[in-house]
Amino acid sequence: MATEIKVVLFEDAERTKSELVSALKKYLPSGGTVVAFDSEKIAESEGDRKLMYEERLRLILSRPPFDPVTLLVADRDLSMSVHFRGMSVSAVIEAAKRLAIPICSYARQPGSEDYKWRAGWEEGHILLSESDDDDLARQAVLAARGFAEIGSRLPELVDDELRKSPSKALAALLGKPEYVDKIALYSVGDQNRLSEVPIKGRVEQDWVKRIGCFLGYWLWDSILRYPGLLVNEVAAASHLNIATDDFRVPEVQSVFKDALYSGPFADASKPRWWRGVVDDLVSREGFNDGLEFVRRKVKNAIRPSQCWVDATKPAGYYCIISDKPVSLDNSKGGLSWLPRGADLTRISTPVFEEYGPWIGS
């Protein structure tokens, strides 16, 4: 990747800032840099200091040593920032939006599992909920690398035809033009993202930068997150009718290596597979499901998937809240906020009954 990565960190606690800078440096590729936002050392005119925080930040981030920025990483609570008293992450998000710079925010307070899935629904930026600095830094650098990859590849891919359709642009970026219709289905039910679509003409000058930012958020927050087009480990195992633990065995995963996702934000520690390629591998040889396929290819002792609600049933689907394999009968899908393309993503019935009023219909 030719683009050099620069991460700008917003953190108002000095000790945490120093720890996070070290952790980020550990994961950055060679040539990558971390610049901590130090409000005490920034020269601003008296006039600029009277502006709204988001406008001040926009001006500051447009200048060295920050510009050009690959990714902003910001604590959600920045209220102790010198010269920016009471600032919250919202001001940084707004500045990032004006500059078309991707941003991740984080909350270092350990969150419960409930918080993890609810918090993840915030739009317009990436939310990292890891409580461990090392994990947080690893995730942030993963995001930075992904956005850098998108930013470097997009200019050569985007022609007049692709400019008309974010789905086509993303399909081209992922090297899977055959999945453009499926990708388009991820925009259905995702109304929050509509306001973020860059309108060509109004923002012509930095359109590629803006569309790169938009596609990155869409990929991270929707397509990679909700199994349908791509599947994570639990969803892949469930879909293939293989017990999750057995699917984790390297010999089993090697059977599906051609389907491994290697595009932007690909994470070796949390692999994902192209569901269509997985399906084609199984069906091309006439097997009814993935279990038959791996039993023939690897070993006969591989166990089938089980629905976590009723172990007598094969799973087949993935519960986005419990992160467990679930059967069709013991789950609910088609909720208005689920992307239409995420047809393997469901909510287990007991979880739905517990959270029903908050989850919607």
Binding site: L185, D279, S283, N288, D289, P314, L328, G334, R340
Partner: protein
């Protein structure tokens, strides 16, 4: 039983077509309800090289110019199709449509009562059915049974027809090749028309090519033999060899 895994392009063509149809219905302020199951799960293995597709749709508030404002036109659709895997040129996998039955129930709703206004089914079987036109529509008075798509969405009590009509149950009318996609296409023309139909037709143009083609060898041969005459004999060409 675990779910059947099929090539993505096969079920994705159905998914895309149905989604386009739903979008068109919603543009006319109608609603489409279907069972809470992904399209891919509507395909089940029915033989070594065959799969069966089954899906019902409930269309609520279908646009109808003839109906007075106090009434509503609903439509229940039950589609059953059988697909067969074969081998084409260069040993390429090819899926074709062996059978298709699409049942329709038109229901007129007024004052909390639903009256079955019209019931029919389109039918096709690659092997041909004795004494049936190859592709045909049959007018009936049969309610679609156990339609999953209705659960939780019906706001009326259904009133069955008071008198059974012998005419209804025996009329089979030859048609062109009607499948689920063709039926939905015709419904879009009938009930949406104009700009919405044009947009739908444009959208599904590329999807049509991805849907499995039908096999109708005897009929094709018959029409090819005398292409300038649409004779009734064509519709029973499959019986010439029986």
């Amino acid at each position: 039983m675990s779910k059947t895994i099929l090539p993505t392009k096969l079920w994705a063509a159905y998914e895309d077509f149905l989604y386009s149809f739903q979008t068109a219905v919603e543009q006319t302020s109608g609603q489409v309800f279907s069972p809470d199951r992904p399209i891919a799960s509507c395909f089940t293995r029915s033989g070594n090289a065959t799969v069966e597709f089954k899906r019902c749709l409930y269309l609520k508030g279908l646009r109808s110019r003839r109906l007075s404002g106090s009434k509503r036109l609903d439509l229940v659709i039950m589609a059953m199709e059988e697909l067969e895997r074969g081998t084409g040129e260069h040993d390429k996998e090819v899926w074709t449509l062996r059978k298709s039955t699409v049942q329709l129930n038109y229901i007129v709703v007024a004052d909390g009562v639903g009256r079955l206004a019209q019931a029919l089914h389109f039918d096709f079987d690659q092997a041909g059915q004795r004494d049936h036109p190859f592709f045909h529509v049959q007018l009936t008075d049969e309610l679609i049974a156990a339609a999953e798509c209705l659960v939780g969405h019906v706001d009326f009590d259904i009133q069955p027809p008071s008198e059974r009509s012998e005419c209804y149950v025996t009329t089979r009318i030859p048609t062109c090749d009607m499948t689920l996609a063709s039926v939905l296409y015709c419904l879009a023309a009938d009930h949406f028309g104009g700009a919405i139909f044009n947009q739908f037709a444009q959208e599904v143009l590329s999807i049509e090519d991805r849907l499995p083609p039908l096999r109708f060898d005897a009929l094709k041969k018959s029409v090819d033999t005398s292409p300038l005459h649409f004779k009734s004999v064509h519709w029973f060409a499959h019986m010439q060899s029986t």
